[in-house]
């Protein structure tokens, strides 16, 4: 990790660590712990998406679907077949990886926004499956009797325990992602972002890397889905519809693409906006998100993180295209 990232990592780590204690001292916001648990789960969904959007220049509209694949795999295997949750979790992750690979390979071979279209269609189909396969998923009325989690026979029961578990995993995923970014693979990703053609000509298999990030994002989303399942112990298809996929894209955009910290910031912020501060506007939720998206796109193309880093705007490198040199 670079020194600046190490600093931010330490500071954010400490903030997250003392948050439950802080919240406990201020009256009326004790349920913020719960909101932060959801924010942590969603951060896992958004981490991979941030890499995909920031480095591969692609948008996935199926993050909610992968989230759901993890959630329902865990739900079905534990509630219907009595599997151990820790065994069900990797099954969901592998399933999500396989499906992402099948969707990603043809869509990412082509230049352009085929992935957005492919994942849009795929996400809708997955949501229909969740709703219609009543025998397996419980359909629209939901799935119940899902067990909680235990570590070495010790049940995770309190909100604070869940909080530390989820954020511990978020930090592990962050660490993994930072290690990737500051290595051979990360250099390749940054090179693809800046000059895709030159990267390819210097030996970087650009299409393969895009597929890998997409699969990585799907796996993280599936793992997040598994934890979500055991935390809420109830599943309904509406948590995995297109609106949620759009929300995840928005979280990354608001915080800032191409910055893992930005993705984290955007996720926490929008989770609070959605769960807490905008309850009054619930009926106008789509409208509010649309407005946020517009403001970000027009005034903060690099996301909120850019304001923290160097003031609004900031130069963006253009991707040069082949041909017409003469």
């Amino acid at each position: 990790m670079r020194t600046t990232d190490r600093w931010i990592f330490t500071v954010v780590f400490l903030l997250i660590a003392v948050f439950p204690w802080l919240v406990g001292r201020i009256s009326g916001i004790s349920h913020y712990i719960e909101v932060m648990i959801f924010a942590g789960i969603f951060s896992l969904v958004c981490l991979g998406l941030s890499l995909l959007m920031g480095y591969a220049g692609q948008i996935s509209l199926a993050q909610a679907a992968f989230f759901g694949i993890g959630a329902y795999t865990s739900g079905i295997l534990t509630a219907r077949f009595d599997w151990n949750p820790w065994l069900a979790m990797p099954v969901g992750a592998v399933l999500a990886a396989a499906v992402a690979w099948i969707v990603g390979v043809p869509a990412l071979r082509l230049r352009g926004h085929y992935l957005a279209m492919a994942t849009l269609g795929f996400g809708v189909i997955v949501h229909i499956v969740f709703s219609e396969e009543v025998e397996w998923t419980g359909g629209p009325s939901g799935m119940v009797d899902i067990p909680g989690l235990a570590i070495a026979g010790w049940r995770i029961s309190s909100e604070v325990q869940w909080y530390y578990l989820i954020w511990g995993i978020v930090f592990l995923a962050l660490l993994f992602s930072f290690h990737i970014l500051h290595s051979r693979v990360g250099r390749a990703l940054r090179a693809i972002h800046e000059e895709e053609i030159a990267a390819e000509a210097m030996g970087v298999p650009t299409a393969r890397y895009k597929v890998q990030i997409f699969v990585f994002g799907a796996v993280l989303a599936a793992i997040a889905g598994s934890f979500y399942t055991h935390y809420v112990t109830f599943l309904s298809p509406s948590s995995f519809n297109l609106m949620w996929s759009i929300r995840f894209v928005l979280m990354v955009m608001v915080g800032g693409m191409q910055s893992l910290w930005g993705a984290l910031l955007g996720t926490v912020l929008l989770t609070f906006v959605g769960n807490e501060w905008l309850q009054v506007f619930a009926d106008f939720e789509v409208l509010v998100y649309g407005a946020i998206l517009l403001v970000v796109a027009l005034f903060l193309p690099q996301g909120l993180i850019s304001v923290l880093r160097r003031g609004p705007g900031g130069a963006r490198s253009s991707v040069s295209r082949l041909g017409g040199e003469g």
Partner: protein, 261 residues
């Protein structure tokens, strides 16, 4: 020609009837040429002659409409550019295509990509093998920067270098892939006279290490000074080929190309 076995003096690159059309524009109209291994081969021709298009075809960025390209006896057209890079062809770009916000050193380190292995798991979990590979990439990249004389700039952002140095950095990045054949597209563009002279020395040094150089260049002094062979293109067609002395005196070349200026 057949290449049952590689022999010294065999051609490293063979172009057989290369044609490239963009819709109605015929940028290359059937180029036949063989480049012997270990030489400096210049490709010259007026603006729009098709030189850059030829480089795009050889490096796989464009797929020729017709014809075949043999590298060390094996057909490479149709392969993805990263495969061709892996086989040992590297290049620079006429319009500098550096990774501008990465450092000078990182640009060259990227050149090591096809010669190294660590993937997602190895880098994400920082396997010991990955760390030593990373150190190796670092060391090699520094050596290539040293070779081209950019060692002092290694920590700077590539985009902040003056154009001349960016062109040199592209050469270092290309060399870092350990090519057998390197394509240089107007490396002297934007260089002053001393820099161009240094470039000439560098290209000769590269050739002495056994790397075959194909050089597209408008600076005729440089071309005539260092090339072993020159191929002249004109409107996408073969015009002449031979030693610098031969090309200098070729009336067709003088009329089509040198006479123009």
């Amino acid at each position: 020609m057949e290449h049952p076995a590689r022999q010294p003096g065999a051609s490293i690159l063979e172009l057989n009837d290369i044609q490239m059309s963009f819709g109605g524009v015929h940028a290359l109209k059937g180029i036949n040429h063989a480049v012997p291994e270990g030489i400096i081969q210049a490709v010259i021709g007026p603006n729009g002659a098709g030189k850059t298009t030829l480089f795009h075809c050889i490096s796989g960025l464009l797929n020729p409409t017709e014809g075949s390209i043999l590298f060390r006896g094996a057909e490479i057209n149709g392969l993805a550019p990263h495969r061709i890079a892996h086989l040992g062809i590297s290049r620079t770009f006429q319009h500098v295509a550096l990774f501008k916000s990465m450092t000078v050193l990182e640009n060259v380190m990227l050149g090591r990509h096809s010669r190294t292995r660590s993937g997602f798991w190895a880098t994400g979990l920082r396997f010991p093998g990955m760390r030593s590979e990373e150190r190796n990439i670092h060391k090699k990249a520094e050596a290539f920067l040293d070779l081209v004389g950019l060692a002092d700039a290694s920590r700077l952002q590539a985009g902040t270098l003056p154009l001349g140095k960016q062109k040199i950095l592209e050469i270092a990045r290309a060399l870092a892939t350990e090519p057998r054949l390197v394509l240089l597209d107007e490396p002297a563009g934007g260089l002053n006279m001393t820099e161009t002279e240094e470039l000439g020395v560098l290209i000769q040094k590269i050739c002495q290490t056994g790397i075959t150089v194909v050089l597209v260049e408008h600076d005729m002094n440089l071309v005539m000074d260092i090339s072993d062979q020159i191929l002249v293109l004109h409107y996408g067609q073969y015009l002449a080929s031979g030693t610098p002395q031969h090309i200098k005196d070729d009336p067709a070349v003088i009329e089509a190309y040198l006479g123009e200026n």
